[in-house]
């Protein structure tokens, strides 16, 4: 094994924390979704690391499913953004406090 597993897990933790910060701090709904992508990438990284560490392809399979679900999430999420934008222009979540307008 070339890359030590602990380094991979540490990198994954740092990337996930950056994603958490971005999701909680940004007020633009598109950039919040992008922060979710950063978090998913961090999880994929640790899954690939475990796959190599345990010499088992299941980690990679799970990462592939994560990517597929991420694609679905992006489709629905951005569809929602477009639908919201039609009613009220802008992508700030602070403007979207009313369910009906």
């Amino acid at each position: 094994m070339i890359v030590p597993m602990n380094m991979v897990l540490g990198l994954s933790a740092v990337l996930f924390a950056i994603g958490v910060f971005g999701f909680l701090a940004r007020r633009n709904i598109i950039l919040m979704l992008v922060s979710v992508e950063v978090m998913l990438n961090a999880v994929n990284l640790s899954l690939a690391g475990f796959s190599q560490h345990l010499e088992n392809p299941r980690g990679q399979i799970l990462a592939l499913f994560v990517i597929a679900v991420a694609a679905a999430e992006v489709g629905v999420g951005l569809g929602l953004v477009i639908a919201l934008n039609r009613n009220k222009p802008g992508a700030g979540v602070s403007d979207l406090t009313k369910l009906k307008w």
């Binding site: 380094m7 007020r27 990284l45 990679q60 399979i61 990517i67």
Partner: protein, 169 residues
């Protein structure tokens, strides 16, 4: 590739991915954020290569960088966001968000400091990445694979229903 070069490559890609992730969540212009996320995805794909996950690296570049990111950019260009650069980047509670992020990073870091027990040699066979992944995906995991296809179909239909213009409403 020797071990030292591979380790140096890993350190470079780890540093670059952390830097581009930080830039991606802090840039004011959303398009710049997207470009930094692209840099992040490319470096993560490089780390996948170092972890013997060639197929995952290819999927990362084709699906994430090629499809998902372009989708984000399309929506970003479709929406007119002229005041995005004037508005505050973060909500008022951003120190709280930073504290939550730091706490999570510290927790995960503490959890991974303990050295992991190694698999004894010969227990798992060496990975032939693409062949093993393909055999597992279409053999043992055939049903989840089909369900993933169904999830994607539901997402496509859902996105069309959500984003379509309702006539007479």
């Amino acid at each position: 590739m020797t071990d030292a070069t591979a380790l140096a490559a890993f350190y470079y890609m780890a540093a670059a991915s952390v830097a581009s992730a930080i830039l991606a969540v802090t840039r004011r212009n959303p398009v710049h954020s997207m470009l930094w996320v692209l840099a992040l995805f490319m470096h993560v794909a490089g780390i996948f290569l170092l972890l013997d996950a060639e197929f995952l690296a290819a999927v990362q570049v084709i699906v994430y960088a090629g499809a998902i990111l372009i989708f984000y950019l399309f929506v970003l260009m479709l929406l007119d966001l002229p005041d995005e650069e004037i508005r505050p980047r973060f909500g008022n509670h951003w120190p709280l968000a930073a504290a939550v992020g730091l706490c999570f990073a510290a927790l995960a870091w503490i959890a991974q400091v303990e050295p992991l027990e190694t698999v004894e040699a010969g227990k798992g066979q060496a990975l032939e990445s693409l062949r093993d992944v393909g055999m597992a995906l279409f053999g043992q995991f055939a049903l989840p694979f089909e369900i993933a296809g169904l999830v994607l179909l539901a997402a496509i239909v859902g996105a069309v229903v959500l984003a379509r213009r309702r006539i007479g409403l």
